[in-house]
Structure formats: C-alpha cells, structure tokens
Symmetry: C2
Subunit: 375 residues, 2 copies
C-alpha cells in the first residue's frame, strides 16, 4: 500500500480535508463580486490573525515574495538593521541589501539575540529594523515585544517576518508597534503554499520606494484593495483555501488555536528531554523556544538519513533536517496549523521506534501524554 | 438554485474536473523525491509546450511574476525595445523601465504592429526586444516568426510573452529563435492561476543582471533546477494541477489541442460576423486574429453592464469587457484551455439571447455549428 504523506515539517504543513476540498472548487472570475467577497473575508480574518486594524495585502507567491514586497516597497530608508540568528534572518539581510544600505547583526544560529548588539547597529543611524519573529531554522522565538520596544527608542520602522508565528502564536502588531508584518499560507494557517499576506501601517508609507519590483509593489496592491481586488491575477484556489482556513480558525477561536500550538510543541520538547535528547536552541530572555517548531540534536549512533529516511519509508512521516551548516546535526518537528494530538503522538512514537534501533534512548511517550492532556 | 460559474474570459479559465481533483491532494514535502518527480514531469511537459530544449523554470506567482523574472534577470542590456499594441505590451514597458533603458514602440490598441516602426527603434541601439505573442486586451496574435526574424537582424535578445498562447497556439521557441518565453497557468494550460513558467536560452545568461529581485532571480531557480527543486517554497497544489494538465495535453496531443483552440475561436468570429457584429481588431500581415480570445464591439442599444450582467445572472457565464479606455466599448470571449463545443455554443447562444432583447441581430448560431463540426 502506498502510505499517504504526513508532513510534520515547519511548513508546508499537513492540510485539513476541509481546506483540500475548498481548493477543488471551480474558478470564479477574479474581477467579480464573488471573488471580492472572499477577499474581503480573507483580509478581515488576516487582520485578526495579525492583531491589527491596518491594511492587509494578499500576494500570490511564497512567504519570500511577501518579505520582498514588504522590504522593497518600504526601502526608502537611509539604512536598515536586520537581525540574523538563523537562515530566515540571513534572508532578510540578503533581500534588504538589494534595495538600501543594510547592516546585518549576526548571532550564531541557535544562539539568542542580544539586545545590546542590536542597539549598537541602530545607534549608527538605522531608520528601520527587520527581524524574524519565529526562526524555524533553529526553532527559536525572538520576543517581538522587547525587540520592537528597542527599535521604537530609535524611531525605527519595524518590519517583522511573522511567517511561522501568525496564526499559531501570539502576534499583536498594533499593540507592539510593528509597522509591517508578513506571513505565508503554508505554515500556521494550515493551507498549501503560494500565498502571502503583508500588513502595513500608515507610517510605513513614509518610506515607500517606487523602485521596488513591479509585481511586489505594495502601492499597486493598496490601490486595488479598496475594491477588494488584487493588481495581478490572484491564485484563486488558494484564496478559497484561506477562506476555509479562517473559518476553521474562527470556529476554534484564535486564542484556543495558539494555546493548542503551545501545548503541542511543549509536548514535543518534554518528550525529547525525557528521552534523553538535547534541544538545539540556547534561549535567553529575548529568544525562547518556539511554539510552532522544535529542533533536536541528532544523537550519536544514527545518521540523519537513517532517521528521516526510515520515518518516511515506514511511517510516511516527513520531519525536517537541519539547514545549511546544521545539515546532519539536528532534526526539526513542526507543530503548525491544523494538527493535533493524534499527529504528534504518531510522530513521536515513530521517531522513538526508529531511534531506539540505533541509540539507547529512554521510552518517553508518557511524558508527552501528560502535556497533551492539557488540551 | 445557485448557478455554478462558467468562465469564458481570457483567463483565469474554467478548470477541468480532473485538474480540480488534483488540487485537492494532500501535501507532499517540497524537498522530497515525490515532489522532484512531479517537477521533472512538469518541466519536460512545458518544454514541449514551448517547443524548446532550453531550461524551464517554474515560479509560484502570476504570469506577471514570470514576466518580471524574465525581464529583470536579463536586463543587463544597454537598451530594450518593447512593442505595445495592447495592455500587456504596455506592461512589458512598465516592467522593463524599472531595470534598464527602455524604448516603447506604441501602436493604437487594436491596430497591428508595423515592422518598420519596430525596426526604427531597434536601429537606435537596442540589445533586446520584448513583445506579447497573443495580446488578450485586443484579441490579436502578433506573429512571432516575423518579429523575431527582424530582431535577429539586429542581434537582439528576444523575450516573448507567451502567456496566452503557449498550450493553445503554436509556440516554437527554438525554431523561431526566441531566447526567453513566459507563460502562466490560468490560460491555455487550463489550471488555476498562481504559477508561471519561464523558458531560457543559454544566450540569455550573457545579459544576466544580479540586481533583479531576490524572489524573481532566475539564477537561483537555475541552481535548484538541477535537483528538480525550486529556491523558495513552491505552490505544491498548483504543481499537482500542472501535472494533471500536462497529462491531459499528452492524451489529446498538443497539435490537436492547438487545432481545437483555432476552431473554437474561428466559430466565435464566424458567429459574430454572421450575427452582424463587428470584430474589434484590425489585422495586417504581422498582427492577426487571436486563436484563443475574440474581441467584439458592443453594438449600439445595449450597455456593457446589461450584456455581461444578464449573462452572469441568468446563465452563470462570465465574459470579459474591455480594459482601460476600451471599457464599455468591446466584449471578449476566451476560448482557452479545456473547453469545447458545449461551452462555446452555450456562451454564444446566451449572448445571442441577451443581445436580441436590445439589438436587432441576426440569429447566427448555425454558422458556428458549421465551423464546430470540423472538430
């Protein structure tokens, strides 16, 4: 029998059947009333997810497209500071440097952000700060409230990559003072990849740069948003999916959803520690364990390919390895979107089975049950 | 009863049930073997559609994203000439001017391309020529063979927007000498919007400009293409859809598919003329009637909103109006993708019904039947 896939990576995630069925709906005209109504519903739903009353623009493209739309459209700043403590922080710097003077404040991947280092860069004359809220490459959550507070002391425009936090962890754009926030469809929103959302404050437009890419020019999105349309043909099926996802979020309640994500990831961490495995991140008071993904060091005695290969072959479960120089050193388990206890216990049990063939680990599933009972 | 939509616009098009069901498949890992196999199949299929042995890159974004990827990645030219005889020709110029010196050769929308005007611009030192193969805003096909031949006399890099021709009309990239060709998913390929394809010759890389947008940088796509992967998370569901579409194309045969598109659009034109309506385009020996969309002048006695509104309300059929200054002056019928006789006769009959309430037109469906019998 061909096993159906179960994706437990930090995106793209396993997609709920209701959302898959929504994707199979026949096209509607993208300039007609039906589409505009869907778009209006999606925009309003995304405002709640971002915790904002700002405009939200929906871009047909991956999260990276959304990031570049945000950074390039508001690159009319003299200098931008980008925080890099992982692969996606690194990406912010790579994008920003195509458009304006960029200073990247680097921390070793897995190490926490040190605010004093960020402050040094801001003090050298930055007008903007960009950072990743939840860094999936290392499974760390960079606490936005503290970072934004510092940026505001320097009157900086704040751009936050919320690609793997929005919809799965607390995002309070307006309360925190974030000017631009970005997310992607295939993470905590639980829909297939191909759609990104960018929330934009009024202040951001003071730094609008018309030399941004044509396709990613948020001024064009703003103009069409008034009629609940997009400037270029939208990925209609993914809008159907987002509509269904937002209905699911409304039914569960955003707060309950965030609580579920926290409990699922805590169950994974608790299991790992009980089993004698070592978590990869080294948190401090600014960077903490992620609530949507967990990174664990691969123990001595088993290779990455043995672990992940057997898991996929025997159980049909895909988890992630490490990226770049972390390849072969860590594995990562996503707990994002519309997954629950069943998917998490299946994943942990399967990993325990495969690891125990090569490594002396302690059976630890009961420690996960204890946490999951809180759900 | 809520009527199901039938889109007869020049994209997004009505989607075949097989393709809709493919969209509803569960996610697979975008870095795994299953996805790579799908991508390989899609790339090989798209090479046939483009008539090329060149590389083909698949970008998650609308056709405009594909266009900008092509133009910006190869904007290392001193000067580019863009032919504009419609909205999408105009767009080429708007994109190109963000990246390099651009000369737009303008013809009134609906008027044909005059090669002597193009030649004047090329002679002023252009190193590249960009043009739209099939211009949907005016329903004209600009004959690529003649335009490319001229461009080659000036040793120009040739970029062709084949968004609404590839898969529905003859595209022979290699035979004609086109260097870069672009298409979109929601047109003749018959899948939902959100995916574009760019075919690239070796010569194009001589003009690579690393200052293109990060998300649209074709060098990043080229690097990952070797492993049948994409640099950023691909819109996996749309790859499922493209795979199914290419299977349908293989079953029908590309030549038969093109023949079907030609007959369907000829049936629409024949009906229109028999009914006493006036076609909008004014063809010559370079710009001819499109084989994938037909533009017809709105006759005196009925308003655009009455025609298209009633069609949608009573029949659930969406056709297009005119764009920009052609709004209210023309209506357009797409005959793209996986539609056949049934959809075309339903559309023409419905239009005849609505028009005949306001305008004295001759019943003309029999003239369409005559053409459609060739299928």
């Amino acid at each position: 029998m061909e096993i159906e896939d179960l994706l437990m990576i930090p995106g793209p995630v396993h997609v709920h059947g209701r959302i898959l069925r929504a994707m199979a709906k026949q096209m509607v005209g993208h300039r007609g009333k039906k589409f505009s109504e869907i778009m209006e519903y999606c925009v309003n739903g995304m405002k709640k997810v971002f915790g904002t009353t700002n405009d939200v623009y929906l871009i047909s493209g991956s999260g990276t497209a959304g990031l570049e739309a945000a950074i390039s459209s508001f690159s009319g700043v003299k200098r931008i500071t980008c925080i890099d403590n992982g692969k996606f922080g690194d990406r912010l710097g790579k994008i920003a440097s195509r458009y304006t003077q960029t200073d990247v404040v680097r921390f070793e991947w897995g190490k926490p952000v040190l605010l004093e280092e960020v402050e040094k860069s801001l003090a050298e004359g930055s007008e903007a700060l960009a950072f990743v809220h939840n860094e999936t490459s290392t499974a760390m959550l960079n606490l936005a409230e503290k970072i934004v507070k510092l940026a505001k002391e320097y009157d900086c425009l704040v751009i936050m990559d919320a690609i793997t936090s929005a919809g799965g962890d607390t995002v309070k754009m307006d309360e925190w003072g974030v000017d631009v926030a970005i997310t992607g469809s295939q993470k905590c929103l639980g829909i297939p990849p191909g759609l990104s959302a960018v929330a934009v404050s009024d202040k951001a437009w003071d730094y609008y740069n018309e030399k941004c890419p044509f396709y990613l020019d948020l001024a064009a999105y703003r103009k069409k948003a008034k009629d609940n349309q997009t400037p270029y043909t939208p990925a209609v099926s993914l809008f159907f999916a987002l509509e269904e996802s937002l209905k699911i979020i409304e039914e569960e309640g955003l707060e309950n959803r965030i609580r579920r994500h926290r409990i699922l990831s805590r169950a994974v961490r608790t299991w790992a520690e009980e089993a004698g495995l070592e978590l990869f991140p080294e948190p401090n008071d600014v960077s903490v364990y992620s609530n949507t993904v967990t990174a664990i060091k691969i123990p001595e005695g088993i290779k990455d390919s043995e672990l992940r290969g057997t898991l996929l072959k025997e159980y049909g479960i895909t988890i992630s390895g490490g990226q770049e120089h972390l390849k072969g050193k860590i594995f990562r388990i996503g707990t994002m979107g519309n997954v629950g206890k069943r998917e998490v216990v299946a994943t942990l049990a399967a990993i325990e089975d495969v690891l125990s063939r090569h490594v002396n680990i302690k059976p630890a599933l009961h420690s996960a049950f204890d946490v999951l009972r809180e759900l």
